[in-house]
């Protein structure tokens, strides 16, 4: 097994993208889970559908829709462009693609974590003078940490494998937006470099196993510190 410098770049980029996508989604996923678990409001079903949508649509479609939204003519794209921000074709686009695709998995895990919090603990914090935001950060956040970690590891793993949405939104530019799956795609589309494709697959597997282990480790640690 040998890796070219380009492969190494792709691996580093993949890790960077997966990491950034996870970090970016965490606050949003946490907020979405909180809304779904602790709040009752109109349009909750809509939120649930929206959150779960990326799961159902093929990533290619998601990528295409994102391109329409964030592109030159998309309303969000125009907004960002007027602020001097160009996302398409940069590694940031890869981050956004991964983030959207992995979001439902993240929210589902955090929800499960939150659903096991005793609501009286939250109430207790409110009567002790914490505003809802304070209570969210000082009680709900630490107590749903297990779900957050599970969700993050799931999302990280999913991001490492994200292909369809990324190639559309970010392009397949070696050294800039070419993540491991895109590099594998490149290799695999030429019969002469199947071996290279397989080495990258192997790297991918090794990373995800490492993530799984890290997750087990962290969640055991949290079990211990919460005395569960």
């Amino acid at each position: 097994m040998e890796l070219t410098p380009e492969d190494i770049t792709a691996i580093v980029l993949s890790l960077k993208v997966a990491f950034a996508a996870t970090a970016l989604s965490l606050p949003l996923g946490f907020a979405a889970a909180w809304l779904i678990v602790f709040r009752t409001f109109r349009g909750k079903v809509l939120l649930e559908v929206l959150v779960n949508l990326p799961l159902t649509l093929p990533p290619v479609v998601i990528g295409y829709l994102l391109l329409l939204l964030l592109g030159k003519n998309g309303w969000l794209g125009q907004l960002l462009a007027s602020a001097g921000i160009h996302l398409i074709f940069t590694w940031k686009a890869a981050v956004i693609a991964s983030a959207v695709v992995g979001f439902p998995l993240l929210v589902r895990s955090i929800r499960l974590g939150m659903e096991s919090i005793d609501p009286l603990l939250v109430k207790a914090s409110r009567t002790l003078g914490a505003s809802w935001l304070d209570s969210l950060l000082s009680v709900i956040l630490p107590l749903s940490m297990k779900g957050i970690i599970a969700g993050s590891s799931l999302m990280f793993a999913r991001s490492l494998g994200e292909f369809g949405a990324t190639i559309i939104l970010a392009g397949n530019i070696p050294g800039v937006t070419q993540t491991i799956p895109l590099a594998i795609y490149d290799y695999a589309s030429s019969p002469s470099s199947t071996a290279m494709a397989l080495s990258l697959c192997f790297v991918s597997i090794v990373i995800s196993v490492a993530v799984l282990f890290l997750h087990e480790l962290l969640s055991r640690k949290i079990d211990r510190s919460n005395g569960l």
């Binding site: 964030l70 397949n172 589309s189 030429s190 019969p191």
Partner: protein
């Protein structure tokens, strides 16, 4: 910034390398993908200066939207359709493929090579008899992969792709009279119309040196 059809990856990489060697200041950012994907990206503001497509359809589409510097549209290269496979059966002409079990072609709706292959089969009068045997692939490279792995007896692919294969051999070349010419158009995008470097590279791609490289990879120059 280049947006290049994925099937041209190897040849473009080599051309860029040799250009860079002569013009040390030139820096390439290459994006490889399906022609439709690339066109969609350009339509939505992707920072591409030069667009090389695998068919004229998407080039025309962009041109009609004034995203391409119209006058700069040139032909990058031509290609030809071949039938390749690792089968032990004797296959030397369009008629012979009737004896095969499975044949890979690109999905005619989304893959130009598939469209050409379909046209060739129709013209040869065998399309109707093959309908159950065709396997539609996502792109030419997938066709080749199926052929290489022996999942199909053979497939219609471009000559350039067929030359990359190890196991699959070119069994016959599809007669040019059966299908429209395979053209790779290239153009500078509207945005880069004033970009001298882009124009210079475009000119280089039309030159003799580029021609030699293209021939090496199996492309036809006219």
């Amino acid at each position: 910034n280049l947006s290049v059809a994925a099937s041209l990856k190897e040849v473009i990489n080599e051309l860029c390398a040799s250009y860079s060697a002569k013009h040390p200041g030139a820096l390439f950012v290459k994006n490889f993908g399906g022609s439709g994907t690339l066109a969609g990206q350009i339509e939505n503001g992707a920072p591409a200066d030069l667009f090389i497509a695998a068919n004229t359809e998407w080039m025309d589409h962009l041109n009609s939207k004034k995203l391409i510097a119209g006058p700069s549209i040139k032909t990058f290269a031509y290609n030809s359709l071949v039938f390749t496979g690792a089968t032990s059966k004797k296959v030397t002409s369009m008629k012979d493929i009737l004896s095969l079990d499975k044949i890979a072609i690109g999905s005619p709706k989304s893959v130009p090579a598939g469209e050409y292959a379909m046209a060739a089969m129709t013209k040869a009068g065998i399309a109707g008899k093959l309908s159950g045997k065709l396997v539609m692939a996502k792109d030419v490279r997938e066709c080749l992969m199926y052929a290489e792995l022996g999942e199909v007896d053979g497939g219609f692919v471009y000559r350039t792709d067929a030359l990359l294969a190890k196991k699959a051999k070119i069994l016959f070349v599809v007669p040019q009279n059966l299908y429209p010419r395979v053209v790779y158009p290239m153009a500078v995008t509207a945005k880069a119309a004033q970009n001298e470097e882009a124009k210079a590279f475009l000119a280089y791609l039309q030159g003799d040196e580029a021609g030699a490289v293209l021939s090496k990879f199996g492309f036809l120059l006219k």
